[in-house]
Amino acid sequence: MAALKHRGKTYEVGPGTTLERALRELGIIPETVLPVRDGKIVPLTHRIEEGEEIELVDVISGG
């Protein structure tokens, strides 16, 4: 399994699927996050690999 971290929560996802598809299955609009791994942006077309951890940085700020 791989891990997607978002707002303090960790979602386990199976390897092989694209990041965009995984986000949509979690109900996250891709426009609202920036996937980052080891300080670098991960494209939405990336196929998730076994054991990797990707942080979904929230890009929406407000107030």
Partner: protein, 301 residues
């Protein structure tokens, strides 16, 4: 996925601009858009002194970095809002950014100016936290800019901020606010010119710019902004954007073409506040001085 420009591996797809970009060309695009926006709206010139309103978040730090790279003379102003935990962390990011680049950062503690921080203010004053905080920030940032002899105050409002504000104003048909919503607002007397050079960049682009450029910023949201109307409006717009790319950009650009049709109901006449001497549209003390007075009495304002 390949970069539309150089065919190297792309890291981001910008559907609203029909672009796939590698890190190098994302940075180049962001800086180009900002440079063009500054010129198109006559925001400021390289000869003028700019004060960047710095919060420690992605937008303000990216703006400061871009202005610096474009050769503008820009200092920063950070307001310590007195929000438990959040303020200390955002201040640290702002100070580290400035120190690493040897940039001048003015730090102003709201508690020293108002008698309490935002946490204390929301307990004694009527009104929503973001609205009260906005009043305090506008007043103090203008004060720092005016006293420091800056020609312009630059803020990190981005496309998502502007589109959300626009949607909110349209929903309520706030004609006065619509008339004043523009990427640059002229200065008048002690009111310093304001500019928003990031208005045509999405939040996602700005966040990507920071990650690629190694700009460390505070990820967490202000605790008072949880449930804020502006965030709800952004979610609505992002749902539309997901289905119809370029919705936000089209909405803002379209508005700017017809904005002249909106007029304030009455011309705003600015007077000097009898207490602090800063400009206000109110008769009697300005909103900041009234809040300060209420804080000193511990009673609702």
């Amino acid at each position: 996925m390949k970069c539309t420009i150089c065919k190297k591996p792309a890291v981001i797809k910008l559907r609203h601009a029909n672009l796939k970009l590698c890190p190098e060309h994302l940075v180049a695009r962001v800086e180009k858009v900002v440079a063009e926006t500054i010129k198109k709206f006559h925001m400021f010139t390289p000869a003028e002194k700019i004060l960047v309103a710095v919060s420690g978040g992605k937008d303000s730090l990216a703006l400061w970095e871009i202005l610096r790279k474009l050769g503008y003379r820009a200092d920063g102003a950070y307001l310590d809002l007195g929000i438990e935990g959040y303020s200390a962390r955002s201040r640290e990011y702002s100070e580290k950014f400035a120190a690493a680049r040897e940039l001048k950062l003015h730090v102003v503690a709201v508690e020293e100016e108002l008698g309490t921080g935002i946490d204390g203010l929301v307990r004694v004053a009527r009104g929503k936290a973001c609205s009260l905080c906005g009043t305090v920030k506008r007043y103090l940032l203008n004060h720092v800019a005016y006293e420091g002899g800056y020609h312009v105050l630059a803020t990190g409002h981005n496309l998502d901020d502007e589109a959300a504000t626009l949607l909110g104003n349209v929903i309520r048909w706030e004609e006065g606010y619509l008339a004043r919503q523009y990427p640059v607002l002229p200065g008048e007397g002690k009111l310093v010119r304001r500019a928003k050079p990031l208005v045509f960049l999405s939040e996602r682009e700005v966040a990507a710019y920071c990650v690629i450029s190694g700009i460390q910023y505070i990820y967490e949201e202000c605790p008072h902004a949880v449930g804020a109307r502006s965030i709800a409006l952004k979610h609505v717009l992002n749902k539309l954007e997901d289905r119809y790319p370029a919705t936000k950009l089209t909405f803002l650009r379209g508005f700017l073409k017809v904005r002249d049709r909106f007029r304030p109901r009455e011309p705003v006449e600015l007077r000097d506040c009898p207490i602090c001497g800063m400009p206000t549209a109110a008769e009697g003390p300005c909103r900041f001085c009234r809040l300060k007075e209420r804080v000193s009495h511990g009673a609702p304002a």
